[in-house]
Structures are given as structure tokens and as C-alpha cells.
Symmetry: C2
Subunit: 391 residues, 2 copies
Amino acid sequence: MSITHPQGFLAAGVVAGLKSTGKKDVALVVNEGPLHVGAGVFTTNRVFAAPVAWSRQVIADSRVDAVILNSGGANASTGPEGFADTHRTAEHVAEVLQAAGKDISAGDVAVCSTGLIGVRLPMEKLLAGVDSASAALSADGGDDAAHAIMTTDTVTKQSVATGEGWSVGGMAKGAGMLAPGMATMLCVITTDAVITEEQASALLAEAVRTTFNRVDSDGCMSTNDTVLLLASGASGVTPDEADFQAALTQVSAELSRGLVADAEGASHDIAVTVVNATSDDAAEAVARAITRSNLFKAAIFGQDPNWGRVISAAGTVPEDVAPFDANLLDVTINGIQVCRGAGVGDDRDLVDLSGREVRVEVDLHAGDASATVWTNDLTHDYVHENSAYSS
Amino acid sequence: MSITHPQGFLAAGVVAGLKSTGKKDVALVVNEGPLHVGAGVFTTNRVFAAPVAWSRQVIADSRVDAVILNSGGANASTGPEGFADTHRTAEHVAEVLQAAGKDISAGDVAVCSTGLIGVRLPMEKLLAGVDSASAALSADGGDDAAHAIMTTDTVTKQSVATGEGWSVGGMAKGAGMLAPGMATMLCVITTDAVITEEQASALLAEAVRTTFNRVDSDGCMSTNDTVLLLASGASGVTPDEADFQAALTQVSAELSRGLVADAEGASHDIAVTVVNATSDDAAEAVARAITRSNLFKAAIFGQDPNWGRVISAAGTVPEDVAPFDANLLDVTINGIQVCRGAGVGDDRDLVDLSGREVRVEVDLHAGDASATVWTNDLTHDYVHENSAYSS
């Protein structure tokens, strides 16, 4: 159940003192090969953190030897000095691993950071943490690494999928500020399958498109979102591409579903599925408009199957983005079709919203494409966690 | 201070029993001429209420004789039957006013409704209310009318601006679900100035663009938004067009500012001004991205001058929509430049967020255009009011 399940990877998670809580806050993942294929997907926010700028350069040649991750500071909006800190971290990782006999260059060390924006990292602590993490590297260190990247997460997010002789493992963190263009989070996925650089890049993008990019907890896009895929080829097995895509997507789906389930202050996980749209994009746009509606999200918190708020959110999507006849909209909430033909449907009192999971289906009657976007309800605890503490 | 300040208008607000509270819930406004110029701006939501469909037809010929407004029911998502109810209401208004000796046809009676979606209006009560309102029409009935359109509003919103021999008066309702494409609300503006149909339409659109369309309390667009302008010409004075535009915009600005000040559950009114953008549209897009950020809005509730959440929201606006260099962003909150060059600026502890009004200025350093969008903070009371009660 961790990133060290696939062969060819070492990992560690240690306490470096970046977090005031004294919990693990530095993670290191090393790909021992024989392959060192790497791919990444990053936030589309134009305001992005120094480690994102750095890691984009690292993956440009599709090679990643190691990933160093820290919680306790995002290293975002920290200027050229922040970028220098990231660079120095990668160089230190390379030096320490070289001293341990590994053939790793700083330009192949990806860096991920998460925590407060606008604050420089305490570099002495971080570099000492790199030393500790290097010393602690182990073939079953994945779980420690998953703990070290947690911020407000209450549980680790880990997943494994296995093929015939190969496997995919993943870890992620993120418990708020989940949004399109990728949930706010860090994620590292490993595999021992033999795949090419082109496959790594294309298959990761496809997996992210329908998983991480379709969780939208609060519509806010972070400066640090990163998903990395590292392939070691250590199994020696070249998988069927469709099988590998399926495994990669499964791990991505489980991790992203885990992010929603652990979202800050949420009391409901809500899957909004739009069916019979003219295209995937149209379906996703309508689903996203609904998952972005504070009124809808507050209604679900109040266990109110308020279909009026669902269709009025759907109606804000421009016609050219999602063609449909607004008079034909049907809305089904947890199995009860409460809105039929944009008007009153079955008895709304039949809808049971007492459980954690809520399923909303909107039928556009316009085509045959569909998409699901996951979100959370808007609760008192969300407001509390995001107003009482800076982040 | 009311819509009956300009000459040539009668108004009334009565209790028809649509509201369970027993408060006034039906308003009637009659333009006695000599001109009967009318213009309107409506919600751009593709899911729109029956009265919006009807009133769009009414203003098509730029003539409006009367407006009937009700709270206690939005008549949205009520199907063909709901449209028939609106039609019947307009016909009843015309009949009653004709019986009172006025030359008014149903096709020139605009209808506005506000309240719950998906519920038919109690037509017997509403039509009896029309009778009462007609009997109560008075040249100083504006204040009663303003009371009759209130829903969760705690105060009426009224405004008057005067020119040389003419004036503009306005009333509005709305205390939640304020969003672009127009704040969710009903608004009637009257004037006794002599203006043409073309002026009414163009000058109203311009006034709405920079006022009602720039308040965005919670990002949710309603099904019933309507702003109507009625010109009686009763002053006999033809105003300078720029003077009239200024007065119309002033009334629209005061009313829309009043909507923000009375927004459901808010504890801060927040003006986000984006300066030095390449265009008005670019400035507005960036301002709107910030006013839509739940994280930013929750931070202001917590009196946290969190500039990181400001610039990370700005960074979500695509480059082609708003060209700017993300490394140059400055953020000033209540006079303190807390972020300079996308990094740490002056001491954030100097920012005083204890007052109701908050001013956030974002400098894009890209051009010379600017725009201000008003919003509210995200509070426990917002969640409570929108989860505990259906609407």
C-alpha cells in the first residue's frame, strides 16, 4: 500500500523540525532504476512556487532520480531567494546520495513543498532533514514518506495497483484548497513497469485529467500542485499499455477520492455526475459549475436536496461551452429524481442526505457524454479552519 | 429617497399573504407618463424564471406602463403553468388599472418575482394583492413598494439623484446570491427626465455594467435578476446625456452597494480593486477571481490579511484574459502594501481588518485600466443561513 511496493524504490520520512508539531516533515524518494523515467503534471496557476519552477525543469528531459518533499512551508512567493533555496535543496540531496554511492545529479532531483505561502524555508533544518532522510532510506519506507508530507491531512493517502509482474504505488497529501487544474496537493506515483518516457508523460496526463482534475473541494487552485510519476523498470516487465493506464488511473482515482474524503471541515463528499452532454468537456463544465456553487454546497450541508440551486448553477454555463435545452434538465439526488424537465419531480422528502456520500446526477438530454466531479459541502468547520488559521 | 420622487409615478406596497410573516409582499409601480419609455437588464442565467421570460417580451418595444412585483415566490422552474401565472398577473394588473381609468395594456406590464424556486405562486392571494395595491396607489407610495419586495433583506435599498429640474429614483431588493451577470435582485429605477428609448436602453446597460454587475457576494447567479428603468418625461426637461448617465450610475451604485452591505450573514464588505490592467475586462476578471475565492473570503472573516490567497486567486486567470507578469503583483490591504513584487511587503500586522469595510488593491503593472468588484466575507452565518433554510 505504498510507493515502495513497486521494486526499485527507496523512501524515507523524517522529522526535521519544520512543523511546530514535531511530526515528520521531510520525505525522500529515490528511484534505483535501472530506468529513471519521470513525468509530471503541475498547477496551472500563474502564481506558482519555487519548487514547481524547479521541478518543471527537472522533468524536461523525462528523467527523475529522486524527489525531496517537505511540509511546513510552500516556498511560494519567496522570490529569487526562494528559488535558490529549492536549488540548494536539490544539490544537497544529490551530494548526500552521491556520498552514499548513488549516481545522481542535482538536475534530476525534483522538489515539492507544501505549507504557508510567503515564508522562506528554514534551510538549516531542511538540509539536516535531507541528511536524516538519506540515512533512513529503506525499501519499505513508503509509509513514513506518506506521513511526512501531511499538513492538515488527518490520514495518509496511499494506493497500490498490481499488474502481471509489475505494480503501481502512490502517495498524496492535500486536505483543502482542492481545485481544477489539479487538486491542491503533492502526489508521487511509482512503478516498476518498463515504460517509455512518452508513455509516462501521456498516460499520467490522461490519468490526472479524469481523477485529480475532477476533484474540486473549494474551487481554489494552489501554487504548489504537483503529481510526479517515476518508473524504475525494475520488474523487467513491459505491460500492455491499456492495462498500465488502467492501473495508473485506478491509483490516481483512489488517491484523489481520498483527498475529498479528508477535505478540511467537510461533512459530505459529493459526486456530481452530468450525463447525456454533447462532449466530455461540456459535461465537466456543467458539473464544475455545480460543484463551485456555495449555495448548493451549503444546502447539502443542511441536508436539503435543493435542486433549484443545482439547475440555476447549471444555467450559468454558457451555451457555446455546453449546449443543452434548459427546459429539459433532470436532477436526481441519491436516487430520487427530484427535478424533471426543469420543474418539480418526485417527492424531495424521499431523499436521504444523512450519509457522508452524496450522488447528484444531472441529465442534459443533449448527447451521450458524461463526467463526474467530486466536491465537498460548505460547512461551519470549513469557514472555521480557513478563517481561524492562516495558510 | 424613493421611486416616487421623480414626477409621473404612482406606487404601492401591500400585504397579500404570500409571505408567512404577514409583511408586505406585493408592489405595484405605475408610470403615468406622458412618456412610457422602458428598458431592462435581466439575468444571463439560462435557467430563468417565468417573469423574466415575460418581462423580456414586455420591454421588447421599449414601452413599460406598470411593474408588478412580488416577494414570497420566484415562479422559477414552474413550467408552462408558471408562465401562465405570470401572464395572468399582468392581465389582471391591466384590467384593474383600466377599471381605474388608466390606459394600460397587459403587454406593457412587467412582472418581477422573488422567493423560492420550484413552487407555484398562490394566484388567488396574488391577484387579490394586485387589487389592494391598485387601490393603494399613491404619489408617495415608493417606500411601501420598497418594503414589499424585501425577502431576507433587513433594510430597504432606495436612492435618489437629482439633476436640474429632473431626478432619478430607485429601489432594489437582494441580500444573497449576488453574482455577476447581475446581482440577484429586483430593481426598479424611475426618472421624470425626457429621454429616448435608445438612451434608456444604452444608458441603463452602461450603469449596470459597472455597478450591479460588479457586486458578487457569493458567485451564485439567480434565475430572476431584473433591473428596469422607467422614464415618464413628466419633468418636461431633456437632460444632458452625460449628466443623466452620471445620475443613473450613481443611483445604481448606491443600490448595489446597499445590496452588499446587507448580504446574508456577512461581517465585512470587501472592495477588490485591480489597477494597471491592460483593459477594463482584464481588471474585472482578476478582481472577480479574487472575490470568488472562498479561501480569501474566509481569511477576511478571520481578519487575516492573507495576500498569498489574493495572488494565488489572481494567478488562476488565464494569460489571454488578463496579461500580466505574476512576479510583479503588488497587494495593498486597507492601505498597507503587504505584498510587493509577488513577495513579502510591509508588516501584515499593521493591517486593521476590524471595520466592516475592507479595501484590497491589486496592482498588475501591465497597463492603465482598473475595475472594482464588491463582495462579502465567508462567515459562519452565511453557511447557517444557506444551509438551515431552503431558498
